[in-house]
């Protein structure tokens, strides 16, 4: 699976997902929980706005000096015996990793959760080599077993599935014979995966934050799976989006503090692990061979342009949890592994407008995302910017809409035209008006009146009332 998760039309996806009652209930209740916890943690920590500003300045500084920090990181990784591969494209990255798997004659690979590995379609490439690739994050494992269903949320990938569905997945695909109780399902997965860690040839991880000063990578989990993935197999491969880097341990801890509170409302997750190079002399656990694959895949094209702030993202999904649109349509509607506001901004940039042109319009520009972002990305402004690009540069706006907007532009800049339109509004709409409201509107109004009434235009418009009044008319 690559970044794109569906070949279905956007409108079909919306209709389908709006019908998914379980998903909508799960999403709205998860949103409540995450938002409440995030706000509680922010209040408890105190001076949250300062924390956000500090997070923002760190990320901005790193992006402005990204080449330097990547240089420093690569030098330090190599010093600690790790190999660094800079991959400009997804193919370069997967070819390199394929090469390692072949060289090691790897049969079994265990993975911890990584959005960038999904973006570059790594699992598919490795499976073509007849490698068994096993996701160890509980949510990702469930989706993998369910015929590689795409994730619907950056942090809780299987949010859209209920426990009965999960039980059925395990039953049908693996002969699971216990109940749908979450503890039993989790125990089943724990026991099943236990041996896989111990017998895997390669462990593959993503990277929450690479630390330039020491050549370290930081992994943030609650399950402890990333630790098992990196401690036991002899070869470790870490794949990182090139912007996921900080200068030192001090900035790492600030961003981790923002991440864990914003993502899941915890002060810290159960396991935050910094790994540096290969195992030291005499170490029992840890990899003998370590590869860091640094992926561009379109990120550098965003640098230096007006969308650069999106690269500040630390993948906490606070914006997703705040979005009132995501609340109703869920992650699969976006057709991308990156959903919600961050997905709306990022997907067209990494994947082009062809597949993602509707996304920037799946927003009311309410600004809840911008408010929630711990590193102050102006998400709603970037979403708006996409609309501008779509209209002006891409020329992709629907013709009827373009005409309407041109008409608007004319009418709204000519008082004469406007007054005419205002006078005509009531009589024009009168065939559709009943009891001073419109219940079955024409043209664009139709989409509105499916669910709502629309007020009939004022018969006598306001400005006439005001004029009469000042002439000494009605008081």
């Amino acid at each position: 699976m690559a970044m794109k998760t569906s070949d279905d039309l956007f409108n079909h996806r919306v209709t389908k997902e709006l019908d998914n009652t379980f998903m909508r209930g799960a999403v709205s209740s998860a949103q409540e929980r995450f938002q409440t916890r995030r706000l509680l943690q922010a209040a408890e920590l105190g001076h949250w706005e300062e924390w956000r500003s500090h997070g923002e300045e760190i990320r901005k500084h790193v992006l402005a000096n990204l080449d330097f920090y990547l240089y420093q990181l690569s030098e330090n990784v190599a010093q600690r015996g790790g190999h660094v591969y800079f991959a400009q494209t997804a193919k370069e990255a997967t070819d390199y990793i394929k090469g390692i798997a072949k060289k090691k004659n790897a049969k079994k690979i265990v993975k911890s959760k990584s959005m960038v590995t999904e973006e570059i379609n790594l699992n598919t490439v490795l499976e073509e080599l007849s490698c068994e690739v096993i996701e160890t994050d509980l949510g990702e494992y469930i989706l993998q077993v369910d015929d590689h269903e795409p994730p619907s949320h950056i942090v809780v990938p299987a949010l859209h599935k209920n426990k009965e569905q999960i039980r059925d997945v395990f039953k049908e695909k693996q002969g699971y014979d216990k109940t749908e109780k979450p503890e039993e399902l989790a125990l089943y997965v724990r026991e099943k995966l236990r041996n896989e860690y111990l017998t895997a040839d390669i462990g593959i991880t993503g990277c929450n934050f690479a630390i330039a000063e020491s050549g370290s990578i930081t992994l943030v989990t609650n399950e402890g799976n990333a630790d098992l993935v990196t401690a036991l197999p002899k070869t470790q491969i870490t794949v990182m989006g090139m912007e996921r880097i900080v200068p030192t341990f001090e900035e790492m801890e600030v961003l981790v503090s923002l991440l864990t509170r914003s993502a899941v409302g915890q002060k810290l997750t159960s396991y935050i692990t910094t790994l540096t190079g290969i195992k030291e002399e005499g170490d029992t656990d840890g990899p003998e061979e370590f590869h860091l694959v640094i992926v561009d895949n379109g990120r550098s094209d965003i640098l230096g342009g007006e969308f650069q702030p999106i690269l500040q993202c630390i993948r906490c999904a606070a914006c997703v949890n705040a979005c009132p649109v995501y609340r109703h349509v869920g992650g699969h509607t976006y057709g991308s592994i990156y959903s919600g506001p961050v997905g709306v901004v990022l997907s067209p940039l990494l994947g082009g407008y062809d597949d993602y042109k509707e996304l920037p319009y799946a927003s009311t520009l309410c600004g809840a995302c911008t408010d929630a972002c711990p590193v102050k990305i102006p998400l709603h402004q970037l979403i708006h910017r996409h609309r501008q690009v779509i209209v002006e540069n891409e020329g992709r706006a629907p013709v009827s809409e373009k005409l309407l907007m041109k008409a608007f532009g004319l009418g709204a800049s000519s008082p004469t035209l406007y007054k005419m339109a205002a006078k005509m509004a009531s009589p024009t709409m009168s065939p559709f008006t009943k009891d001073n409201k419109i219940s079955n509107g024409p043209g664009p109004l139709k989409a509105w009146t499916e669910t709502r009434d629309f007020p009939a235009p004022n018969k006598d418009n306001f400005r006439n009332w005001l004029k009469q009044r000042s002439k000494g008319g009605e008081q």
């Binding site: 209740s29 998860a30 105190g46 001076h47 500090h54 300045e57 500084h61 080449d67 330097f68 990547l70 240089y71 990784v77 190599a78 010093q79 790790g82 591969y85 800079f86 400009q88 994050d137 509980l138 949510g139 469930i142 809780v156 989790a186 997965v189 724990r190 995966l193 000063e213 020491s214 609650n222 402890g224 799976n225 630790d227 401690a231 200068p247 030192t248 341990f249 001090e250 790492m252 801890e253 503090s257 810290l268 159960s270 396991y271 935050i272 910094t274 790994l275 540096t276 190079g277 290969i278 195992k279 005499g282 170490d283 029992t284 656990d285 840890g286 550098s300 094209d301 230096g304 342009g305």
Partner: protein, 238 residues
Amino acid sequence: MIGTIENRDAFLSKIAQQLGRAPKTELAQPIWQYQPQERVLKNATKDELVEVLVEQCKNIHTDIVLTDTANLTKDLQKVVDNYGGRSVVTWRDERFERYGLTSFMTEHWSQMGIQLYEWNPAQHEENIRQAEKANIGITISEITLAESGTAVLFSSKNKGRSVSFLPEKSIILIPKSTIVPRMTQAARFIREKIRDGEQIASCINFITGPSNSADIEMILIVGVHGPIKATYIVIEDQ
């Protein structure tokens, strides 16, 4: 051994080009405008930090025991018994001796039916085998973060990573002197090591309670891939 670096120049040149300048290989230390992390638990005493730690353990499904070197053996035994004994894996660390634990564990446990295994840098396969089947793993925190209830473990040849997450239950000994307000102090501590030219551990683990997941219907399950239970034993060592 120094690792290889491939395709760096073109990659970094593209970045610099997009940023409208030449590639940088030097940079002054940034001076940050905001430092909110300094404030947290700023003037707290060690005892106050212990209180914070105790409170936080309630939120992270972790039991906590306060003891001193005189009572450590007794209190540790209680926890081990509570966890069902059977098999214990520990690090090889001179503090076990210093705290009077080594003699007790080696002399008494076999009689009590508790199998003890100490990490052995010369026995790699055996180490993993023992850790995998052990009921309990005992490690020692180097730095402890009061705010989040976090123990920081540094790996080495005598202190295997697996001891803290392969066994079903985890006991972490926390010398009181290691307790600091939050991760900010730990980050500084590590940076000083780097500045002093020390090679930092290949694995530094910030561990907060047992493992958990809320991936199934957002219902919290404690004990997924890592330990299902955790206890901190704070030792008054000053």
